[in-house]
């Protein structure tokens, strides 16, 4: 009568479970396998901005390689980029120099270590783990974009636009000023203010919150950018900075740069394999903008410097060598409008020149200006921003330091729009510097490096070696301990632990999550903690054996330990998810491997070992368990 409640104890797995296990094992081994093939020294050739490679480029590269007696192991074409693999580093270096000579500024030729994964594995998307900078060497920068400056700029961009708009509507205003986070338009009388208000309501209602101050003496309109517009300005600044950084980094010739937004005002830049951090910092750290202004030809700059008085509508500037010059207040266009600048030689005179390309808006503004000013001079002002952190009254305060230099003033020879040259420069060197400055000037808001982590190549290699050694040593020690305590069952757990390692590697490879040194530490820790599930099960089986039969002890061991294992692992997972969500780069790596390890270990330690144990002992007349 009691038997109705007793379930038949079955230590057999259905076939589908074995099948599933086999599939997992095969997939794990396949996707983990790319990690054993090592790297090919290779050269990565990607087209420069606005250049596209075609069949002739490829033929030309192959020709110069053949001429230099270099035989690539493989010539790969991925999305218009070439990845040329070589058999040794010597060939790789030689190839880089000949290709560089061939392409010049048409392409970026970077050295790379491409994974030597066989093609059939690459075809199914199997890749080796993505190593973090602390393992492969390289530079990591965290850049902070000065958002206050970005908003200032957004306001300042409107100053001229509003003036033009009012002039077009014949609205008479006294001045448009930017002060204390708002634009102030001053009027002489209320009528003009009313007209301006109507114009603003019609054309600028999406951008500004409009407040009017109808006082008798100084009627004015105060404009605050709407929240959405401010947010847009910030997003724009970040995007613009990321684009500019990407272009600058291309000049460095880095194979796989990472340029990513982090949070709402920071940018992460990772340059694997870059050794010359000084150069990288110079290129990344210089934050500059440009202004194109007309030269005020009427006044005397030297006298203005002495008296401090400048003619109406002009301002005093200085060249880099200290020579003063008067420029008009009106800014024709800024560095934001410059899309490219290249140094070269003037084909007629043979003197050095710089070719400048503007975007559409810049081109239109330039056309309008040059039409009226042929024969006048136009100057380029280079404005360098850097941010200093100074301590005032024990508080850390960021201070912006601005220096403005006139880098060039040239006569406008004719009417032009978005493409023009500055010619007659003294030397090719000067042309190169000017071009670099012009390109560097295309930044929306100043940035500051707030974090740097550089790892030399030897340290990266050491980290891999030491990390691997720790994993292997830890793994072997655990195998020994488990065998010592649980004999045959211990061996089964060891097989599961091995599978667990393979699965962790496979999942890391599949996800292309970044493996860091702390990440390896996480794997080591997982190896130690993963066997906990088996320890719980096996101890429970031992305990059950004292009171029940072998078959029911095995069953009860697994069943009863399961709740405990689940509870214990969920809490650990909780801790590692919190670790992940707060962590920066290397810490994230630790959290990732730990989380993956916890999940895979639950699978291998419970399903994996049970499958083997069931095969060995399940429903068989066993006299004694080797546990």
């Amino acid at each position: 009568m009691f038997d109705t409640k007793t379930k038949i104890i079955s230590n057999q797995y259905p076939a589908w479970k074995y099948f599933m296990l086999m599939v997992v094992i095969i997939l794990g081994v396949v996707y983990a396998s790319p990690n054993i093939f090592g790297d090919d020294p290779s050269v990565q050739v990607s087209p420069a901005k606005s250049v596209q490679f075609d069949a002739t480029t490829q033929a030309a590269i192959q020709e110069v390689l053949a001429k230099a007696q270099l035989t690539p192991k493989e010539f790969g074409d991925v999305n218009g980029k070439y990845l040329i693999r070589f058999n040794n580093i010597d060939d790789q270096l030689k190839a880089q120099s000949v290709i560089k000579k061939l392409l010049g500024r048409q392409g970026v030729v970077a050295l790379n270590l491409a994974p030597a994964t066989p093609k059939f594995l690459r075809d199914i998307g199997a890749k080796p783990m993505y190593l973090g900078l602390d393992l492969r060497g390289g530079v990591h920068f965290l850049m902070d974009v000065d958002m206050e400056a970005a908003v200032d700029k957004a306001y300042l961009r409107y100053v001229d636009e509003l003036k033009d708009a009012m002039r077009a509507k014949k609205i008479r205003y006294l001045n448009v000023l930017y002060e204390e986070g708002a634009l102030v338009i001053k009027f002489r009388d209320a009528q003009n203010l009313k007209n301006a208000e109507a114009m603003l309501a019609k054309d600028y209602s999406t951008d500004f919150n409009v407040k009017t101050n109808l006082s008798q003496h100084a009627p004015e309109i105060i404009l605050h950018l709407k929240k959405k517009a401010i947010k847009e300005a910030k997003t724009y600044a970040l995007k613009q900075n990321i684009t500019t950084l990407r272009n600058r980094i291309n000049e460095l010739g880095v194979a796989e740069p990472v340029i990513q937004q982090q949070g709402d005002r920071r940018i992460i830049v990772q340059l694997p394999g870059v050794q010359d951090t000084t150069k990288a910092k110079e290129i990344l750290g210089a934050t500059a903008t440009l202004e194109f202004r007309l030269v005020e030809e009427k006044g005397d700059a030297y006298r203005a410097e002495k008296t401090g008085y400048t003619p109406n509508g002009s301002r005093l500037f200085h060249f880099r060598n200290g020579r003063p010059i008067l420029l008009k207040r009106h800014i024709i266009l800024s560095g934001d409008n410059v899309t490219n600048a290249q140094s070269g030689l003037d084909s007629r005179s043979g003197s050095a020149e710089v070719s400048i390309t503007l975007d559409g808006v810049g081109g239109r503004k330039m056309l309008a200006t040059t039409k009226k000013n042929i024969g006048n001079r136009m100057a380029v002002v280079y404005i360098e921003n850097h941010v200093e952190t100074v301590t005032i009254n024990g508080k850390k305060v960021k201070k912006r330091v601005v220096t403005k230099d006139v880098i060039n003033a040239a006569v406008i020879r004719g009417q032009f729009s978005n493409r023009f040259q500055i010619t007659g420069l003294d030397s090719p060197q000067e042309a190169q510097d000017l071009a670099l400055l012009l390109r560097a000037g295309a930044l929306a808001a100043p940035m500051e490096i707030v974090e740097e982590r550089t790892i030399g190549p030897s340290l990266g290699a050491d980290n891999i070696r030491q990390g691997m050694l720790s994993v292997i040593a830890g793994f072997l020690l655990v195998l020994v301990v488990m065998f010592w305590r649980y004999k045959m069952f211990g061996m089964v757990a060891n097989v599961a632990l091995t599978l667990n390692l393979v699965l962790i590697v496979a999942i890391l490879s599949l996800l292309q999550a970044t493996l860091t040194l702390p990440g390896i530490a996480g794997i080591v820790l997982t190896v130690g903690m993963a066997v906990d599930a088996n320890v719980l099960i096996f101890e429970r089986i031992r305990e059950e054996l004292r009171t029940s039969s072998i078959q029911s002890a095995i069953n009860a061991g697994y069943e009863k330990a399961f709740v405990t294992i689940a509870d214990a692992n969920i809490t650990t997972l909780l801790a590692s998810i919190i670790l992940f969500s707060f962590g920066t780069g290397p810490i994230k790596g630790f959290a990732i491997t730990l989380s993956i390890g916890i999940i895979t270990s639950m699978f291998t330690a419970i399903v994996g070992t049970r499958a083997v144990i069931n095969l060995m002992y399940g429903n068989k007349p066993v006299k004694k368990l080797s546990i």
């Binding site: 009691f2 007793t6 379930k7 104890i9 902070d144 951090t277 000084t278 910092k281 750290g285 952190t389 100074v390 301590t391 850390k396 500051e448 707030v450 974090e451 740097e452 550089t454 790892i455 030399g456 030897s458 340290l459 050491d462 030491q466 050694l469 720790s470 040593a473 793994f475 020690l477 655990v478 301990v481 702390p518 530490a521 996480g522 190896v527 130690g528 903690m529 066997v531 906990d532 320890v535 101890e539 031992r542 305990e543 029940s548 009860a556 069943e559 009863k560 709740v563 405990t564 509870d567 214990a568 692992n569 809490t571 650990t572 909780l574 801790a575 670790l579 707060f582 920066t584 290397p586």
Partner: protein, 342 residues
């Protein structure tokens, strides 16, 4: 639930060990209190040797081709205006670590470049740049804040999970144990002056994970025993659970410690303090699962009734009947199993 049909009532007399762990719980509480107070004194009085991750500043690691002259490097740097530069050997006689606090008015990202160029000129020895870490002061402040928050969030999350899964008294016990572990580990870092950086913080969170794992396993068994063992005071039931779990606790601590020692020995200088923090944490965490988590839960008056499955009003008589029947069935099955084995 399949467990119900195959569950055997554990006999209180049949564990490998019969140590009266709970007898020492008062002594343990005193020892732990002293350790925690000592640690807190260390943290607040002596302070932590914080790494650049938290203070901001620059670290430059150089590998010389021959044993480096630390004094000479220091004086070369002092001559160039880095009077506060800390120079010491790192792991080997050839490796040198230079640490420079943030300097007012200097573009901080440039410091590492300048240090390297100063040493290239003044110090003729041949060296290779191994590592540069620069953390701006505001990033350092953020990391400190985020780090502290992460620990707090982790503890809160655990408090809630354990309260839901077990009972709030267990939850308080578990979280007290975790705070105990974290404080003592940090205290040891304070007293020894070992550097506390981001990796050590990560290790602390892993310690929380590990120690909790251990605590949950014991709690789980206490709960099970409350439900299945008839008679016995809460203290006896708890003692039984700790004894039942003793072998498991030793084994898991052993395997974890073994891998951590491997990491400590082979993992290299950068990972040293990380491994050390975990080793300390695992030892302290293993102890605290029993003596802090369980003892506090007991002291708060956890009893059998709290962990019995909630009994619905009205159906209570029937439920109790069922429970009794279940226990009877289990005993019957156990007897049968024993007979079968014979």
């Amino acid at each position: 639930m399949t467990t119900e049909t195959i569950q055997q009532p554990s006999n209180i007399m049949e564990t490998e060990t019969k140590i009266d762990f709970m007898k020492y719980r008062k002594l343990a509480l005193i020892v732990s209190s002293i350790l925690v107070i000592l640690s807190l004194t260390g943290i607040f009085y002596k302070g932590l040797n914080l790494g650049v991750d938290f203070t901001g500043g620059t670290i430059v690691e150089l590998a010389y081709s021959e044993p480096a002259d630390v004094d000479q490097i220091r004086s070369a740097l002092q001559a160039s205006g880095y009077s506060e530069a800390m120079v010491l050997n790192f792991g080997s006689a050839e490796d040198v670590l230079i640490r420079i606090a943030p300097i007012k008015g200097v573009k901080s990202a440039e410091i590492s470049n300048k240090v390297v160029s100063v040493l290239r000129v003044k110090d003729n020895a041949d060296f290779e740049l191994r590592r540069v870490e620069f953390v701006g002061p505001q990033v350092g402040d953020e990391l400190t804040e985020d780090g502290a928050l992460a620990v707090v969030y982790a503890l809160l999350g655990i408090l809630i999970y354990v309260a839901l899964r077990f009972e709030f008294r267990f939850s308080i016990g578990a979280v007290s144990a975790l705070i105990h572990d974290v404080v003592i580990t940090v205290g040891i870092f304070a007293w020894t002056g070992l550097q506390f950086d981001l990796t050590v913080l990560a290790a602390l969170l892993a310690v929380i994970g590990y120690s909790l794992n251990d605590t949950i396993v014991v709690f789980d068994r206490v709960r099970e025993n409350f439900r299945t063992v008839r008679g016995g005071s809460p203290i006896e039931v708890t003692n039984l659970a700790v004894n039942q779990m003793l072998a498991r606790t030793i084994m898991t601590s052993l395997t974890t410690l073994v891998v951590l020692i491997a990491l400590f020995v082979f993992g290299g200088e950068i990972i040293h303090n990380f491994a050390l923090a975990l080793i300390i944490g695992v030892v302290v965490g293993t102890y605290s699962s029993t003596y802090i988590a369980t003892a506090i839960a007991l002291a708060l008056g956890v009893s059998k009734d709290d962990l019995m499955k909630p009994v619905k009003d009205g159906a209570s008589v029937q439920e109790r009947e069922e429970e009794l029947t279940r226990i009877f069935l289990e005993e019957h099955a156990a007897k049968e199993a024993k007979n079968a084995q014979k």
